[in-house]
């Protein structure tokens, strides 16, 4: 392959492309720098959450006291018998819905449909805010009614409270920060700030938001279901 051919057809794909991208003393990632940086941040954030989850794994395995029954602790009753994990299920569906609206917002951004993108990002932020509201409700029920504390609880292993508040709290912080970030992006989109720059920013904000949803998938499984 001569260089001329490469230039005509663009860079190689697959493993040849990997070697080219890393070995040719040039830009490695063919994406906007903001997107590459967001990915680097998300990979490092993955490690932070993984440290918490592995710490949880360790205390959960090593504790000799029985683990509290999450399904019953997180049950909620609407007048009748308590329904297990219902609030958590609603929170999960809300976060997935917000991920969907975010994916559509990214798409509308690339179609340069500013109005739709703006409203879809606002909807995503609203779902995120309602998620945080439900989490606040869940925490207050857990603390005030069930008497769960970071250092102990009436049901079983005291580590339950500490890892639960630590990990869901850190996730809730991510959601709250994401809501602010999304609103900031939304209003800049509306003002036409990205008309010349291009709309990659919505995809970058979207990556962060999908990551928050992704972390919840793991929290939902390990803290509530297992």
């Amino acid at each position: 392959m001569s260089e001329a051919t490469v230039n005509e057809v663009g860079p190689h794909e697959g493993v040849t492309g990997l070697v080219d991208d890393w070995g040719a003393d040039k830009q490695a990632y063919h994406v906007p720098w903001g997107k590459a940086m967001m990915w680097i941040f998300l990979v490092s954030d993955t490690f932070i959450f993984s440290c918490f989850l592995v710490g949880y794994l360790n205390v959960r395995i090593t504790t000799t006291q029985p683990w509290p029954p999450q399904s019953e602790i997180f049950a909620l009753s609407f007048g009748g018998d308590p329904i297990p994990l219902i609030l958590i299920a609603i929170m999960t569906f809300i976060l997935i819905t917000s991920s969907g609206t975010m994916a559509l917002a990214v798409n509308m951004g690339y179609r340069k449909d500013k109005v739709k993108a703006f409203w879809l990002i606002c909807a995503t932020a609203a779902f995120g805010a309602s998620f945080v509201g439900m989490q606040a409700f869940e925490w207050s029920k857990l603390i005030l009614e069930e008497g769960v504390r970071p250092w102990g609880n009436p049901f079983g292993a005291p580590q339950f409270g500490s890892v639960f508040f630590m990990v869901t709290g850190f996730h809730g912080l991510h959601v709250s920060a994401g809501v602010i970030y999304l609103l900031w992006v939304a209003f800049r989109v509306k003002r036409g700030h990205y008309d010349k720059k291009g709309y990659e920013i919505i995809e970058i904000a979207g990556l962060y938001w999908h990551f928050v949803d992704l972390v919840w998938v793991f929290i939902f499984a390990f803290f509530y279901l297992l």
């Binding site: 063919h30 592995v54 090593t62 000799t64 999960t92 569906f93 997935i96 969907g100 994916a103 008497g147």
Partner: protein, 130 residues
Amino acid sequence: MASAEGQQHPLGIYYKIWILLFVLSGFSYAVDFFDVQGGMRWALVILFMFLKAGFIVAIFMHVVWERLALVLTILGPPTVLLLLIGFISIEGNYTQEARFAYMGHDRDAVALAPSDLHGEEGDHGGEEEH
């Protein structure tokens, strides 16, 4: 090169994945709702969890359409975590076994549920001993 001009894909794929995520979450919740227990519970919950995570990363985060250099940067480093999880599990079981064997902890302790406690007023007495 798709990524230079941004990730533009037909809307249909997003709707399909969206619905799929709802269905998978519904399945996860059904595992708890129908009170599936034991190994089956672990297998199902972890299966649905990885499917959901995979679809979010692949489609919503567009990883499936990225170039291999970026894909490996994203997915490569976290794979070492599997090693950490494996080591912690082995070590954790050893620690727990040592606590049972040498520190006199009760192997048969049973957790309490809110329904056990709300009957007896004012007695939030901590771990029960059988």
